[in-house]
């Protein structure tokens, strides 16, 4: 049954999941068969067949229905109804078979054998085979969508129509590889339609052909995309609905109104401002659910440019952190829908989270004292001036920029604040490195390598590449820890390395998560079974159903 959020629900789920993971060896799967388990996120009761669901998310229309490099959350949602992945990470944080039945490592973890599901066909009727997987590994994932994750990949071969062997030049942790295969960017496209053509600009990306429960129906640009039932879907009986529609409301207030009138049935990823949630729930027509975001935890960050004087000094960064009241940010900017972040590994990550890290409690007097001790006393009314850049792609970031300006000025630091649009922010932060302190965001999956670690490693410094190491932080010690984390295959040893990573990151603080932002879904009361995975944005919605 669909549930509304209750106090402590998220932490309860997190602890439950943590217990489950500990019991199964930190989420590592039985090697020959990916376990089918009960799904606590599923709603009980027989699914009712039929009906149309209109769904949306808290953002805009995608640029294409499928974007080979990933393309962010919007195309991720539109493409995952049609295109599938090899594995799925369920709400219990266990990998479930999707197009792969099993993923088995060799004894030295330098190769993996993938057994594929039998009898799967593409929507045009062609059979899905190991050749498709090999094509995607070599032509899609490795060069475009998962270059860093598959850095050590040396080959992919099809040993028979349903078996693929991946070879690596270094040991690859099992959780890491499974996370990659179940990841946001590892969708499978048909080789027979893409081979020999440019994957990125292929017109087929607007009308994808996949193996999923939904077939492309119609895309009315600026309005919605319609999906038709795939009657030959490999999972017999699904999808439950006759039709699925993803529609875009560019204005959050309209999104809330559409939920209220029933024109919209399901809305993922913070579709309305946090302040509107309680009002909508009180109407009795809408429920809120915070499940399903474990693998896409969301944060707002402060990034300190190591190329700039003063903020390149660790003691200054640490002092500045003491001037910031994170609880105030949660309460006022996020309306309580979040919690102060502790470290780059979030508290919602039961696999790697540790509390054993340096903390920077809000203490302006201590901040001032530390700055004095660093030889930066107040002179002529200020200690020094920083250029603070707020990437205002979210209104909360702009507000946070204003708060930080005030907070830093309270301890004598003059601030020149720029709140800029998306393209400007991307260029200034990740292209030109033109800032002292930047307010930005990142999303963190459970597996830290490479999505989180690349903010801290030397090889994460790629000029012009967004959401990487833009601060220029480079530490041999950090590189060594992450290097080991990438190849360590023992789960307990990985956990210890992750703790080392978190402690060093929280000591050197080149980039600091300030708030773990709570993600939420809103749904009409009759919508059932809409959260069954660890990343709801990528749900196929095959098992969703509508109560009479």
């Amino acid at each position: 049954m669909t549930t509304t959020t209750r106090p402590g629900r998220r932490s309860f789920l997190t602890r439950s999941a943590a217990g489950g993971l500990a019991a199964t060896g930190l989420g590592v799967l039985p090697r020959t068969l990916l376990a089918a388990t009960d799904n606590p996120g599923a709603d009980a009761g027989p699914a009712r067949k039929g009906g149309t669901l209109v769904a949306t998310w808290g953002g805009l229309e995608p640029q294409a229905l499928f974007v080979p490099g990933g393309g962010g959350s919007s195309p991720f949602q539109t493409s995952t109804k049609i295109l599938e992945r090899l594995l799925k990470l369920d709400a219990n944080l266990k990998f479930q078979p999707a197009l792969a039945l099993s993923v088995t490592p060799s004894a030295d973890f330098r190769s993996y054998t993938i057994k594929l599901r039998e009898g799967v066909t593409w929507h045009d009727g062609a059979p899905f085979t190991s050749e498709d997987v090999v094509y995607n590994v070599l032509q899609h994932w490795k060069p475009i969508s998962a270059g860093i994750a598959l850095k050590s990949l040396t080959g992919a071969t099809a040993s028979d129509p349903l078996t693929v062997v991946l070879s690596f030049n270094a040991p690859v942790p099992e959780f890491f590889l499974n996370s990659t295969l179940a990841g946001q960017y590892q969708l499978l496209v048909p080789k027979h339609l893409y081979d020999g053509k440019d994957l990125i600009t292929n017109p087929l990306n607007n009308t994808p052909v996949g193996t999923g429960p939904w077939k492309y129906g119609k895309w009315v640009r600026g309005s919605h995309v319609e999906y038709l039932r795939n009657d030959k879907y490999w999972k017999a009986g699904e999808p439950n609905l006759d039709k699925l529609v993803i529609r875009w409301w560019s204005d959050p207030a309209s999104r809330g109104a559409a939920l209220e009138t029933g024109e919209l049935g399901l809305a993922y990823s913070n579709p309305v401002p946090a302040r509107d949630i309680d009002r909508l729930v009180k109407t009795g027509k809408v429920v809120v659910d915070t499940r399903g975001y474990q693998n896409t935890a969301w944060t707002v960050t402060a990034e300190f440019n190591q190329r700039r004087d003063i903020v390149n000094r660790r003691e200054v960064r640490q002092a500045i952190l003491h001037a910031i009241d994170r609880q105030f940010i949660v309460d006022t900017i996020y309306y309580g829908r979040g919690k102060p972040a502790i470290a780059p590994i979030f508290s919602s990550n039961p696999l790697f989270f540790t509390e054993d890290v340096p903390r920077y409690a809000f203490d302006p007097k201590k901040a001032a004292a530390l700055l004095d001790a660093a030889g930066l006393p107040v002179k002529d009314g200020k200690r020094f001036t920083v250029n603070l850049l707020a990437a205002a792609w979210f209104e909360e970031n702009a507000k946070l920029g204003q708060y930080l300006k005030q907070a830093l000025e309270d301890v004598g630091i003059a601030v020149k604040l720029d709140s800029v649009d998306r393209a400007t922010a991307l260029k200034r932060i990740y292209g030109d490195y033109d800032y002292d302190i930047a307010v930005s965001n990142f999303t963190s999956p459970l597996e830290l390598v490479p999505t989180v670690t690349q903010f801290f490693t030397t090889d994460g410094i790629v000029k012009g590449a967004a959401f990487r190491n833009a601060t220029g932080y480079s530490s041999p010690e950090m590189d060594a820890i992450v290097g080991k984390l990438a190849v360590e295959t023992a789960p307990e040893a990985r956990r210890a390395l992750a703790a080392q990573f978190a402690r060093l990151a929280s000591t050197d603080v080149p980039i600091v998560p300030l708030v773990e932002i709570q993600s939420f879904t809103l749904a009409g009361k009759k919508v059932r079974n809409f959260t069954t995975g660890a990343n709801v944005q990528g749900e196929t919605l095959a098992d969703v159903w509508l109560q009479a």
Binding site: T52, G69, G70, G71, W248, W249, S254, E263, D421, A465
Partner: protein, 323 residues
């Protein structure tokens, strides 16, 4: 005469359109960030070689002047370029959205003109009465209320509370039926956004109509008409209105561009699948072929509309000759 006028005006439009392209290209170039910055960020592209390949593929390795010249050359061949973001030719992107915007513009202008003129006439005929004050208050309110706020208020009242109109979109998804049923469905969806946009602009028409009516009322020929023994209604309808309407026609021509701009906001509130959302997104993603394409085509729409206004002028007042 009108044909010569039309041809001359269309020829005059060529340097104007060239100016639009050059100015807007320069404006987009002057702001930080390129399409590739946004695209590589969205697509999580990190490989420097791939980024460079994309830069060459999309011509971003060329100097801006060369990019502009190439663009002008392709527009001259009626090729508006390719939208990397949409994976479609720019013209296809525009044609997919323009009809919705034109429908919204026409409906809102019709509401603005009809409501505004009616209010202005009442105000002028009942000058210095409470009718006049009420119309003035109405005009001030309509003009002061931002159309996005008015849109949200209309949604709360007529969609959420009363359930009379849909919250957004242009059609009911999956609606079957003949062309009339579908047309009525579009009309149903169109009502609130057209009212939200139309009421805002009706304020100007009301004020201009009132002033114009009062001015014409003081003319000698109006006094003569009364002296001939005509009824007040006849004088107002046959003598005052026809001459007082000329400033309204002028305003109509001037406001077309503004209505198109205003529709961007209303389209966002009502999820109207028009060109506004595409333009906004294209500016934000620095997708300049689409931005320029929309601006060129919308400039053309305004130019053509102004030619129609000029023709109307000569029809309404034969003393005005096409210059």
């Amino acid at each position: 005469m009108p044909i010569r006028l039309i041809l001359r005006r269309l020829l005059q439009a060529v340097p104007l359109l060239l100016g639009v392209v050059v100015l807007n290209f320069a404006l987009i170039q002057s702001v930080p960030g390129t399409f590739l910055d946004v695209m590589t960020a969205e697509q999580q592209v990190t490989d420097p070689a791939l980024i460079e390949r994309l830069r060459v593929t999309y011509g971003l390795d060329q100097p801006p002047a060369m990019q502009l010249l190439k663009y002008i050359g392709s527009v001259a061949r009626l090729d508006f370029g390719y939208s990397y973001r949409h994976n479609l030719p720019v013209l296809d992107v525009i044609l997919a959205h323009l009809p919705a915007t034109l429908v919204l513009m026409l409906a809102s202008i019709a509401i603005a003109v009809l409501v505004g003129m009616a209010a202005g006439i009442v105000s002028a005929v009942k000058v210095n009465t409470w009718w006049d004050s009420a119309v003035s208050a109405f005009a001030v309110l309509c003009f002061a209320a931002p159309s996005f706020w008015l849109g949200i208020m209309l949604i709360i009242l007529f969609s959420v509370k009363l359930g009379w109109f849909p919250v957004g979109g242009m059609v009911t998804i999956g609606l079957d039926g003949g062309i009339w049923r579908q047309a009525l469905d579009v009309l149903h969806h169109l009502t609130l956004p057209a009212v939200a946009l139309g009421l805002f602009y009706s304020a100007a028409y009301a004020r201009v109509m009132r002033a114009s009516m009062l001015e014409v009322s003081r003319m000698d020929y109006v006094r003569t008409a009364y002296a001939k023994g005509l009824t007040r209604a006849a004088v107002v309808l046959r003598h005052i209105l026809r001459n007082a309407v000329l400033p309204i026609v002028t305003l109509l021509g001037l406001q077309l561009g503004a209505v198109m701009g205003g529709s961007i906001v209303v389209e966002a509130v009502f999820s109207w699948p028009g060109i506004g959302g595409v333009l906004f997104d294209s500016v934000m993603s620095r997708n300049y072929p689409v931005v320029l394409g929309i601006l060129v085509l919308s400039s053309l729409v305004v130019i053509v509309a102004n030619i129609i206004v000029d023709l109307l002028y000569t029809r309404l007042d034969p003393r005005i000759k096409a210059a």
